[in-house]
């Protein structure tokens, strides 16, 4: 079914010798991620999601649609949920970035994380990091949301496994647990 091109061998050699010279311009940026300062060189076109998952090695943030339609890539910028796939890395230098890796306090899970486990608010788990971030952000600005408010907070998120009812239940329970 598949045949290698005969041009391949020569082309690879050419690439080895000329690659460095033709590398697009890189920009050095400094990001504050989960309370830690990280400096890296990125192409201006690199999104925050790509920077997190690539050079920064923070793969907990997921890319599912890469165009702001599903919210799987949600991180917090100064506490506000944003789609990191729609945000350029170079735009985020002046902000505090929180990713799913930075939500728990050491071994102690954020109440939303603990409630997600208890209420089985996940199945395959791929939308889960983004969903957790949005629900945690909601509780930070609204400590006692209604079910409708939780639904609104996650209305940009897709979960193909259909965990929404358990996500709402878990977030309401987390709000209660924090008050108690």
């Amino acid at each position: 079914m598949i045949e290698a091109s005969s041009a391949l061998a020569n082309a690879s050699e050419a690439a080895e010798t000329s690659e460095a010279a033709l590398e697009p311009d890189l920009v050095a940026i400094t990001l504050r991620i989960n309370g830690v300062t990280r400096t890296l060189a990125v192409e201006p076109r690199m999104t925050l999601a790509e920077a997190l998952r690539g050079p920064l090695g923070l793969t907990g943030t997921k890319i599912a649609c890469n165009r702001g339609a599903c919210s799987a890539c949600t991180v917090l910028l100064d506490g506000n949920p944003v789609c990191s796939c729609m945000t350029l890395a170079i735009e985020t230098q002046e902000h505090q970035i929180t990713t799913i890796e930075g939500l728990a306090q050491g071994e102690t899970l954020h109440p939303v994380q603990a409630a997600f486990i208890e209420h089985d608010a996940l199945q395959c788990g791929f939308c889960t990091p983004g969903m957790v971030m949005s629900c945690a952000a909601l509780l930070a600005r609204n400590p006692a949301p209604t079910a409708r408010e939780v639904e609104a907070a996650i209305s940009g998120h897709f979960c193909r496994c259909g965990t929404y009812p358990h996500v709402v239940a878990a977030t309401l329970a987390a709000a209660k647990a924090r008050k108690a």
């Binding site: 079914m1 091109s5 690439a15 165009r67 199945q123 791929f126 193909r160 996500v167």
Partner: protein, 780 residues
């Protein structure tokens, strides 16, 4: 697999629905398998809502999905895809792309000299592929590949493709894929006429005399759309070809199957092929095989000498990674005045794009017995990406039509829809499900169709589902007890989000008298015994019996060691609460760990495989087109239809489901909610829109392809039956597909109850509702 009499023994099993009352049955059990498992009420771990084992890793982002795998030196693959719905590649020039700095391999997939690959039959078909040092370099290099296409006439519409004068998707009959519309690989001899493959005819009895004997006949045409899987994790693979072998990391529903495909495709012994999946972000049928992107990743890795990762973007996935075929169905059902079914006739044309498998008839022939049945099903090729299995293939579109036809029949007979089903459905399980669901939804408050005054009209509807109690015999797992008392269970079976990791820990813990968190679960790797596929709702049914059997076998070995030390008979020992004790004298015993320390080798281990269902199978996948299936449920929906905007809002769904022995009710509830929501989304929103003038999908993404979200989610109440049949060491079956089948027809029947007009086409959009109400003209 077969058991001889001298190796079997008779055992008495509980049977029936626990909430109704249990009976018993005697069955033949292989000597190597444990005694019957008592009902859940008598167990300590199985049947309990144990928290998901991988929950912590998933909420902290630690779970490693295939898209997260980065190997040293790994390259990034991209696939150049056909921009034309039907074309032949005249020439292909890879040199400019291959010379691009950072590109490490470039391959032609459509070869101008190769008649078997140069023809492209849909937009999105692979043409060439490259591997480069970064995704950005790969994306930049892809447009440098120069291809000369010869455009060919195409057809991208189901009804247009049925026209004998329409362009042929396959000019030569030999190149058109054979196969049965039901998806079974059989029936190679089906005729091909133009683009129409079929009809495949299934018949029993004498339908024409059945219709002649009918007092009432209902007849209707139904249409269902193409639905796409939209798993949250993109299709992804990392291929690492080295030392004459392949290690493949893949987001797959079947590690062992992909290994088999790789060995055949690349002519390697199985021992040189390893397939691994850790976190797996959903499949729903679309990740069942190696796929062209898997083959391409391996070929690129072999060519480049480095690992290669390919992640499909949403457009690639929506156009080339499978979909649920669209269908056109004509149904006729005849009945006597008392409701007795006298004849069923089905004609269907469906399209799975360039492939086959768009049949719908399995549902109607099996759900309510009828002596006279005939289905004529045809696949119609069009120039669109291939269909594949999707959550209850066939039965989900089939139920949309047939369960409405049954409701229509009830109305003609002046019977309540539940009363008619009481007469035609012999299943005691479905009867109990109907009783529970009707009470919970408040069925007695259901009004006459369209009787709700005011512009927003409410309605109640119901429908039933049916799915095979599928089992994979080629399914094994190993249980090990180490000398330090640690325990692990190993299998290539994969957890695609359904929770089998947790369930395996529950099964082993139950047998060994331990807590589930004490069991290490190592799965998703073909280095372990082959664990079967996660499709056809058969993971739990297939892997939990061997897990229990293997646990029981190692425990017998441990008992022998402990018995010596305790000066007791091994037969008198039991394992519970972390101890091994003499049953008659529980103070005499030792901890599980102390018993393990007695082992003379570093571990004991047992590998068990799935045996035949006790007293034999009733149904195997693929060979029982006219068999009675028996796993299912009943769903009730309450809707509000706004007759001014046409918006259908589902307010509440009650889903009463059967999956044999429920292993973990919380996880099952999650899965049933997911099945209902996917059914609701199918009913109201989802549709692949193919522009028949260009052959292009115009919504190949997640924003214009409409999915139900949190605010479209109704209250979903899940009721699980505990239904024992004494058929295996665990008596557990699947739930994924049965929970998806009844939702769309239940909503459609509820919409009819609300507005008094039947919607026979999916999705039931506001425009379709307003058209049905005569408020806007029909779409051409």
């Amino acid at each position: 697999m077969t058991m001889s009499d001298e190796n079997a023994r008779r055992e008495t099993f509980p049977v029936g629905i626990a909430s109704v009352g249990l009976d018993s049955v005697t069955r033949q059990v292989p000597a190597s398998e444990p005694p019957p498992l008592p009902p859940n009420a008598e167990l300590s771990v199985i049947g309990k809502s144990v928290p998901r084992r991988d929950g912590r890793a998933k909420v902290t982002g630690e779970t490693r999905f295939t898209v997260d795998i980065a190997l040293p030196g790994m390259l990034h693959g991209r696939i150049l895809r056909s921009p034309l719905p039907h074309a032949e590649v005249r020439s292909i020039d890879l040199s400019a792309a291959a010379r691009r700095p950072g590109v490490r391999a470039a391959l032609a997939i459509a070869e101008p000299r190769d008649p078997s690959t140069r023809r492209l039959r849909y937009i999105g078909a692979p043409v060439a592929a490259i591997a480069a040092v970064s995704p950005a370099v790969a994306a930049d290099a892809l447009p440098l590949i120069r291809v000369d296409y010869q455009q060919l006439p195409f057809v991208a519409d189901l009804s247009a493709a049925r026209d004998p004068g329409s362009p042929r998707v396959y000019e030569a009959a030999a190149s058109a894929p054979p196969g049965h519309p039901s998806g079974w690989p059989a029936a190679a001899g089906l005729p091909l006429s133009g683009n129409v493959r079929g009809p495949a005819i299934d018949q029993r009895g004498d339908p024409s005399s059945g219709f002649a004997a009918a007092d009432v006949v209902v007849e209707g045409e139904y249409r269902t759309q193409v639905q796409t899987h939209c798993c949250l994790e993109p299709h992804a693979v990392v291929a690492d070809w080295r030392d004459g072998g392949i290690t493949l990391y893949m987001s797959t529903q079947f590690t062992a199957g992909v290994r088999q495909e790789l060995a055949e495709e690349f002519n390697l012994p199985l021992s040189r092929v390893r397939v691994i999946v850790d976190g797996m972000g959903g499949g729903f049928g679309s990740k069942s095989s190696l796929g062209n992107y898997g083959r391409i990743a391996v070929a690129l890795s072999r060519a480049a000498g480095f690992p290669v990762r390919i992640i499909l973007d949403r457009e690639e996935e929506q156009t080339d990674a499978g979909n649920r075929p669209g269908t056109w169905q004509r149904l006729r059902v005849g009945a006597k005045r008392d409701g007795t079914l006298t004849a069923i006739a089905i004609e269907s044309y469906g399209t799975a794009g360039v492939t086959v498998g768009a049949g719908i008839g399995n549902f109607a022939q099996a759900i309510y017995p009828c002596a006279n049945f005939r289905s004529e099903q045809s696949d119609v090729y069009i120039n669109a990406g291939p269909g594949c299995a999707m959550r209850a293939p066939g039965n989900t579109p089939g139920a949309f039509g047939y369960e409405q036809a049954i409701d229509e029949l009830a109305e003609k007979l002046a019977l309540d829809p539940l009363a008619l089903r009481e007469r035609i459905d012999p299943s005691p399980v479905r009867r109990e499900e109907r009783r529970i669901g009707a009470e919970q939804i408040g069925w007695q408050r259901r009004h006459a169709p369209g009787a709700d005054p005011g512009p927003v009209k409410r309605g109640l509807g119901m429908a039933q589902s049916l799915w095979g109690a599928n089992v994979q015999i080629d399914c094994a797992c190993e249980v090990r007890v180490m000398r330090d008392g640690s325990v692990e269970v190993l299998s290539s079976v994969q957890d695609i989000g359904t929770g089998i990791t947790t369930v395996l820990a529950q099964v082993v813990a139950e047998v060994l008298g331990l807590r589930p968190e004490q069991i290490a679960v190592r799965i998703g790797d073909t280095e372990f015994p082959g664990g079967g596929p996660s499709y056809g709702s058969r993971t739990t049914a297939s892997i939990t019996p061997p897990a229990r059997t293997a646990s029981w076998q190692v425990l017998q070995t441990l008992f022998r060691e402990a018995a010596r030390a305790l000066k007791a008979s091994a037969k008198d020992l039991v394992a519970r609460e972390g101890r091994i004790v003499v049953l008659s004298e529980p103070s005499r015993g030792m901890t599980f760990r102390e018993a393990a320390a007695l082992l003379r080798t570093d571990r004991i281990s047992a590998i068990a495989s799935r045996s035949d269902d006790y007293d034999g199978f009733r149904r195997r996948m693929g060979d029982a087109a006219l068999a009675q299936q028996d796993l299912g449920g009943v769903q009730f929906a309450k809707v509000a239809v706004d007759t001014e905007t046409g918006i259908v809002r589902v307010e509440r769904v009650v889903a009463v489901q059967d999956c044999g022995r429920p292993m973990n009710p919380l996880q099952i509830e999650s899965q049933v909610q997911g099945g209902v929501l996917m059914g609701l989304s199918y009913a109201l929103f989802e549709e692949r829109i193919l522009d028949q003038h260009t052959g292009r999908m115009v919504n190949p993404n997640l924003e214009q392809y409409k999915l139900a979200g949190a605010r479209e989610t109704p209250a979903i109440e899940v009721v699980l039956l505990e239904n024992y049949q004494g058929q295996s060491a665990t008596d557990a079956y699947g739930i994924a597909e049965p929970s998806n089948i009844a939702t769309a027809p239940a909503i459609a029947n509820a919409v009819y109850n609300a507005i008094g007009i039947r919607l026979r086409t999916l999705p039931m959009t506001p425009s379709a509702v307003l058209t049905a109400l005569g408020k806007v003209p029909a779409r051409s």
